[in-house]
Symmetry: C2
Subunit: 318 residues, 2 copies
């Protein structure tokens, strides 16, 4: 457990550009609790970063494209942080292999910071911790943040969807797959990338995408579809231009504020969940728990009545 005082100190050191402090503060923020609250409060106010979400099915080439985006930001002389969101690793113990590959290229560059995020045991924690981690890296002097999700699960789509610019990565043949996850991706995409565009079926996939986007109705921004071969860099200029054009659109239309508000909403929702979960944990740590559980086992007490007793004893969620 990190004390509130040291969390505030870590926040100061993070603002001063100390990468070790930044890494430790992110760990605190992932864990939640009072230290996270103090550390985050010590950072505010934070100038909002430009957040690029990269999402798509596993194997679509997200990591490589995220890497290409990092290169463009660096070429423009700006600093960029990458947050790789892997909710599954909390359950499977899996690690993001892509990180190690990327690290080899960027680990000597002080203008790049890469972090894998997975909140132990509670998926909802990531919807809270991701916006908070964005604040932390922004305060540490990274005005660009790439949020890369490992898959297209519900949580991951929600997290990527609260970026300023959402890049959805598909491959040729994508039109043939499952409808459910597509609907979610079509809704959140600001830029669509058909990666591995050196394979057969690019035209058909583009056609499918156009058709589905047309069905989705008119919006103030028409998501462009770009074709890339991330591995050799083909089309990456088009992708970067599309991302920058969308950034312009956000600024001109005033939509950037609503994206920032959506992220704040996700953060607030996540903090409410965290406080409720903490109240539940405290209630179950009560010395009365085992006696009530025995009553439930013997059929003498209704488990819902017992649960309410435990929560009430702890004053509810406060």
């Amino acid at each position: 457990v990190t004390s509130a005082a040291s969390a505030a100190e870590l926040a100061d050191a993070t603002r001063d550009g100390d990468r070790g402090a930044l890494a430790r503060l992110l760990t605190i923020v992932e864990s939640g609790g009072d230290a996270a609250r103090t550390g985050l409060a010590a950072l505010r106010p934070v100038e909002a970063a430009a957040v690029i979400g990269v999402t798509g099915a596993p194997g679509a080439g997200k990591s490589t494209l995220a890497n290409r985006i990092v290169e463009r930001v660096r070429a423009a002389g700006e600093r960029v942080a990458v947050l790789a969101i892997d909710p599954t690793s909390a359950f499977t113990g899996g690690a993001i292999l892509g990180d190690r590959v990327r690290m080899q290229a960027h680990d000597v560059d002080p203008g790049v910071f890469i972090r894998s995020m997975a909140t132990r045991g509670h998926l909802g924690g990531l919807t809270r911790a991701t916006p908070q981690a964005i604040h932390v890296v922004a305060a540490a002097g990274f005005p660009w943040v790439v949020v890369e999700t490992v898959g297209v699960g519900q949580v991951e789509v929600a997290i990527a969807g609260s970026a300023d610019t959402v890049v959805v990565v598909v491959n040729p043949g994508w039109g043939d797959g499952v409808q459910a996850s597509k609907a979610g991706l079509l809704e959140i995409g600001d830029v669509f990338v058909v990666n591995k565009a050196d394979r057969d079926g690019v035209a058909a996939t583009r056609h499918d995408l156009e058709g589905m986007l047309a069905l989705a109705g008119r919006r103030s921004w028409t998501p462009p579809i770009v074709e890339t071969v991330a591995t050799d860099g083909r089309g990456v200029d088009d992708l970067w231009n599309a991302v920058c054009a969308h950034g312009e659109h956000l600024a001109v239309s005033g939509e950037r504020e609503s994206r920032i508000a959506a992220r704040a909403g996700a953060e607030l929702r996540g903090v409410v969940d965290e406080l409720a979960q903490r109240a539940a944990d405290d209630a179950c740590a009560s010395p009365r728990f085992s006696g009530l559980a025995e009553g439930v086992a013997r059929g003498e007490i209704d488990p819902y009545g017992a649960a309410q007793e435990l929560l009430d004893e702890h004053g509810g969620v406060r």
Copy 2:
């Protein structure tokens, strides 16, 4: 939303052996809430079922072995329900393929009831819903329940571990894998099965298992290690004898009561979580939510303060 009155009616019909009512009541129990509470209360008291947990890595042959156990219970003239627990399907939309295979063999047998369980969006829900589903099928006249988990995630191990008899399924070569998940499995296993015992490496795997179990220290029950080829039925007699021997041990040692108490504890813990989660959902549905989120976005309000305001407004978790 099912009304409390109809949940109580479904409970009555379930007790009378109506399979349609049983299926609907399980759906209500999975969803939680007041209808679940009423339906469960209408069932109590329920004579405890004998619960056999079957767990192990994906592909180890759990479904086939669970199927073999079902055959033995039926051969003994008793009715059996199978609850297949798949926490991942809540996130991936995946389905348990094994079910369909099993259903073909058992779907004409009124003495077998099979159900896949996955609680949408909240993994903790399964630790609540599984003991409750066991009550429901027990009340419906299934004195045997096989709880099969799809993988060896934290939640699945916890769920399988609260069975009366925990069967851990491994394959030859298991000794070579990751240590972390092994430790959890060694702790909870009452019977170890080396399935696919027609492959190379059975003796080494048995040796590894014996060594690891010896390291784990003496217990009142020494977990036997049986070898099976589930696909052709070899060794299934040994497995069934081991399961029955453990059942005897539970009865003689009085340990069965502590297993039932552990399940009740998991259920109570799950209900506390459910009530806390509901309080969080209600708080976030407040009309004040968006205003507070905007304040957080502008850096005017600390998200933790805003979250507490929302929860307090709703009277905390009650």
